[in-house]
Symmetry: C2
Subunit: 150 residues, 2 copies
Amino acid sequence: MGVRVVAALDQFDRKILALLQENARLTGSELAEKVGLSAAACLRRVQRLRETGVIERDIAIVDPRVFGKRMTVIVLLTLNSDRHDRYQLLRAELEKTPEITQCDHVTGAHDIVLRVQVADMEEYAAFVDRVLVRPYIKRYESLAVLGHIK
Amino acid sequence: MGVRVVAALDQFDRKILALLQENARLTGSELAEKVGLSAAACLRRVQRLRETGVIERDIAIVDPRVFGKRMTVIVLLTLNSDRHDRYQLLRAELEKTPEITQCDHVTGAHDIVLRVQVADMEEYAAFVDRVLVRPYIKRYESLAVLGHIK
DNA sequence: AATGAAATTAAGTAGCT
DNA sequence: AGCTACTTAATTTCATT
């Protein structure tokens, strides 16, 4: 789990990573032009970055609205402090719940922050009933996303 | 901005999208095998999904720790209601701030939710001073991420 | 209108200097 | 690292349904 080989990343690697994080479809020659190495050298580096796990994976970003999931809600969960034994169970369930696209355990006034993708309010209400209404969830606060700034 | 062509997505497109959201590096023949079409047909569909904006883009997921950004903080911002004219300005600034990896305008008890990626507490403190301490930000609540569940 | 098979073009990989 | 040859994948063409 530790991050080895980090010291081995030079400026070229960093530039390549920055570019691929924006657009993973850049070809070897496109990278070459932008970073000032040959195409082969760039691709060798990309290969190495993948093998060492620096690049974890490549994913397609799909407009959630095409699936009819036009509504995003950020949910702040507060757990019952006397039910912290249920944390692992809850965690496993949240991981499996398809509406949840992001989920972090946090410190502070809340315990868990969710990002939920649903079709509409009705579907969100159903999600709340199905997933959030449980004894070991003390409180949840829903923040509906009006617009994505970034 | 409207999402047209959604009705035009059949089961093959949906399957392809689901697969590429997990792994955008699947080749035509790998897709072919999984969805039951020829490689050419799959790639033609992928091309169309890109052209119509259903696939917005492909990105490389890079372990943030390799950049030394080992700390994630979710920040809940509350703006001064009498300074809502500054919203566009703030929005533009947040968009440019490199530490912010995600940023949404929300309803509810807060106005904006940020996801911030920094090296450590010191860097986070500097970020707060530089970005969050401004007259039109009334309050901010920092939730440090202890662990990623999803 | 969209498919599969085949041909073409482009990209990625590997070997050598 | 670069260059070049090789291999694999993506794209286009074309005949078919």
